[in-house]
């Protein structure tokens, strides 16, 4: 009498009679339902007659819950390949480093878009995915030429949804990654920008703003995406946005965008506009660049910290962290907790607090002639160039007026605005939209705010601002 084969079902895994595929596939009637329910209230299947088993292995290979083991008498189960490394762990501690700039130090004459691409490369960006759109396309073209020789990757995707998706995927591969687009592309990217916020994925998104809404005027400047950048992705959690006003700043703020993104594990917007992106200016490239390298330290909690406002370390794929990256609400290890109120609350608050509580590291502005100013212009991007011209002209005529130029827009620098505006006679906010910046300034300033809006797709003429300062006419 040969010894019977062994058939076992792990009852806690079995889903019972509603499935019962084992019993129905078995040609030898080995299985029947058990006469006792599992703690989950399911009547599990049971290998009641193992002596009938012919070890045909149909049941264990069909079981949707991998609950059945069939050990054929005299046969060894196939062994499994070994797991567990060794794993590469490059630069686990990360942090601030100084590295030589890519371009030899010196003066260069280039466009804002080129400078932006060069800044990104200097910051260590080695992955670009995008979809062409005016007025941002030169960034992508420049990257297509430069990245391969630097060992990086350039890829033109099928659309902007795919572009930002590829960027986030690359970032989890451990590579600094970016995309550039304009308003229509941002509109398509928003769901995945929210995903990057939720999964705490560093990446840089350049929005070269053009006149909207919709397709609008492709080659005309605007500042209409300020609110979209902050509030476009559903859920309303903080991110960071910077606003360059010159070609030099397209270079410098591109570097800063990467540094903040890696430091805080958050998508960072570079909110440029058509004017600064297509402008050609002479810029200075310094010999060295300071960059923040991702903290990769493999540990248990890539998605939470003991602090309520912490930034967890971020291991990359292939480093043995067995990452569970998900845009669903998750605990510190990445397990989905989609009905747990406490986990949702803690996560959303930390995602916001890790930015808000470190605003002193983020806020960035320049003050011009503010000491004795009775009236203050607040502006950003190319509009601030016009504003500065008007301030200088008004000063020459003896008007006590100054300019606060905001270089970081999100999180909104409330404290900075309050410090420079409180108690002044009038705060004047010119901008190429219907008053998005003015609304924020009004909230923070502690002084009366006048909103000067222009939405004709033309740059704001500095003489127009001057006329307002002189005659109160807009």
């Amino acid at each position: 009498m040969p010894k019977p084969h062994r058939v076992t079902i792990v009852e806690s895994l079995c889903k019972g009679q509603a499935c019962a595929l084992c019993a129905q596939v078995c040609p030898a009637s080995v299985f029947r339902p058990a006469d006792h329910p599992t703690p989950q209230g399911i009547m599990p299947m049971q290998a009641a007659y193992p002596e009938k088993c012919t070890a045909c292995h149909q049941c264990d290979q069909l079981c949707p819950d991998l609950a059945i083991d069939v050990i054929a008498e005299g046969a060894e189960p196939a062994p499994l390949p070994a797991r567990g490394g060794p794993f590469p762990r490059p630069n686990p501690m990360g942090g601030w480093v100084e590295r030589p700039a890519l371009l030899p130090a010196g003066s260069y004459f280039m466009s804002g878009n080129e400078a932006c691409a060069e800044g990104a490369l200097a910051a260590g960006c080695r992955f670009y995915a995008g979809y062409p759109i005016t007025p941002s396309s030169e960034i992508m073209v420049h990257m297509a030429h430069r990245l391969p020789a630097l060992g990086g990757t350039f890829t033109q995707m099928e659309d902007e949804l795919g572009s930002i998706a590829a960027v986030i995927g690359a970032s989890w591969g451990g590579v600094k990654a970016m995309t550039a687009t304009s308003g229509p592309g941002i509109s398509l990217m928003l769901e995945n920008i929210g995903y990057a916020i939720m999964t705490e994925t560093p990446c840089v998104i350049v929005d070269v703003q053009r006149a909207g809404p919709s397709t609008g005027q492709a080659s005309r400047p605007a500042q209409g995406d300020i609110m979209q950048a902050r509030w476009g992705a559903h859920g309303g959690v903080d991110l960071i946005a910077l606003a360059p006003w010159s070609v030099q700043e397209m270079y410098e703020l591109a570097i800063r965008a990467f540094n903040l993104s890696e430091r805080f594990r958050v998508p960072v917007f570079l909110l440029a506009d058509e004017i600064v992106s297509h402008l050609y200016e002479t810029i200075t490239i310094p010999p060295a660049v300071r960059t923040f390298e991702r903290v990769r330290l493999p540990q248990d909690m890539p998605f939470d910290t003991p602090e309520i406002d912490g930034v967890p370390p971020m291991p990359a794929f292939g480093e043995g962290a067995y990452l569970l990256v998900t845009g669903s609400t998750h605990d510190g290890r990445g397990y989905r907790r989609t009905t747990d109120a406490a986990v949702q609350d803690k996560l959303v608050r930390r995602l916001s607090a890790k930015i808000r509580h470190h605003q002193d590291e983020i806020d960035d502005w320049e003050a011009y002639m503010l000491e004795d100013a009775e009236r203050v212009l607040v502006a950003c991007g190319s509009t601030a160039r016009s504003a500065l011209w008007a301030v200088q002209a008004a000063r020459r005529q003896g008007q006590p007026i100054g300019l606060l130029r905001l270089r970081s827009l999100w999180p909104f620098p409330d404290t900075v605005v309050a410090a420079h505006c409180r108690g002044r006679g009038e705060i004047i906010v010119p901008e190429m939209n219907l008053g998005q910046l003015a609304g924020e300034v009004r909230r923070a300033a502690g002084a009366p705010v006048t909103s000067l809006t222009q939405v004709d797709g033309e740059p704001i003429d500095p003489r127009r601002i001057l006329a307002y300062l002189q005659e109160g006419r807009w």
Binding site: Q61, L66, L161, G162, A165, A170, G173, F317, L323, L324
Partner: protein, 271 residues
């Protein structure tokens, strides 16, 4: 003579490759696929330590995340292939495998799928086709058969479905296959073949959703009420699928309405 062991033990597979027990409904076809996939992965072997699994949103997307003990990227609905393209392009040293549903890959994500096929991005895509949107309650998808009942086609689906194998081959995929979960051994072999492909490979896995498709279309299923709905759905697949080689020898009337299974190479042209 003792029978040779065909495969590893399920308990060993669970210990080596899974983080937790399956989260699926009783008799879910996606679970049968998961079983077959792990057997194929063990046989190849596919190095889980150097593989990134990417999935979108839906029940099919749950196969790798949170089940697989590996790097997993569970993304937004429809975008799995685009995320996977980014991972693959940034890290060509890693294997990139997409496992997701028909709604995720062929409805909302169809554009990414055809472009990845055209560009022959070396990722492996497993589309778990359970003929509708399972997770959201059984609505019609791009693969729902004509006349089938779903939550959003109560009078039967008026629209014809995609033939996903033709779709990706037409887009330029060098390799595409279609296998039903009703033949798990054949499915595991098919998965193994796809994982061995050097370039872009697409597998349409004909899965089952007993909870939504099965209940809504019980009248169409073969078998009798004493049998479980999952079993009757598998029986339906067995009766309606025919291997492409065998189909070539069948008279037209026997071939009509059958679903061709097997493997196709891009250079053959359309099936």
């Amino acid at each position: 003579m003792a029978p040779a062991s065909a495969s590893p033990l399920a308990s060993d597979l669970r210990a080596a490759y899974l983080r937790q027990s399956t989260a699926f409904c009783p008799g879910c076809g996606h679970g049968i696929f998961m079983n077959a996939f792990l057997r194929a992965a063990a046989a190849l072997p596919l190095d889980f330590d150097r593989t990134v699994f990417v999935s979108g949103i839906g029940c099919g997307a749950w196969v790798p995340s949170p089940h697989f003990l590996a790097d997993t990227l569970h993304v937004t609905h429809g975008r799995a292939v685009a995320f996977a393209a980014g991972v693959q392009r940034a890290r060509p040293d890693l294997n990139v495998v997409v496992i997701s549903g028909d709604g995720d890959l062929a409805n909302i994500g169809g554009n990414h799928l055809i472009h990845a096929a055209r560009r022959q991005i070396p990722i492996k895509v497993f589309c778990l086709n359970n003929w509708l949107f399972g997770m959201t309650g059984g609505q019609v998808s791009a693969t729902t058969p004509r006349t089938a009942r779903t939550a959003t086609t109560p009078a039967g689906n008026p629209d014809p479905p995609f033939d996903l194998v033709r779709l990706v081959l037409g887009a330029g995929a060098p390799f595409a296959a279609r296998w039903p979960v009703s033949q798990p051994r054949q499915l595991a072999r098919g998965i193994l073949h796809a994982l061995q492909e050097p370039g872009f490979a697409f597998v349409e896995v004909l899965s089952i959703c007993p909870t939504h498709f099965g209940r809504a279309n019980e009248a169409l299923l073969p078998g009798e009420a004493a049998q479980s709905i999952p079993w009757r759905m598998l029986e339906w697949l067995r009766r309606n699928c025919v291997g492409r080689e065998r189909a070539a020898g069948l008279p037209p009337e026997e071939r009509a309405g059958k679903i061709l299974t097997g493997e196709w190479r891009g250079e053959e042209g359309w099936p």
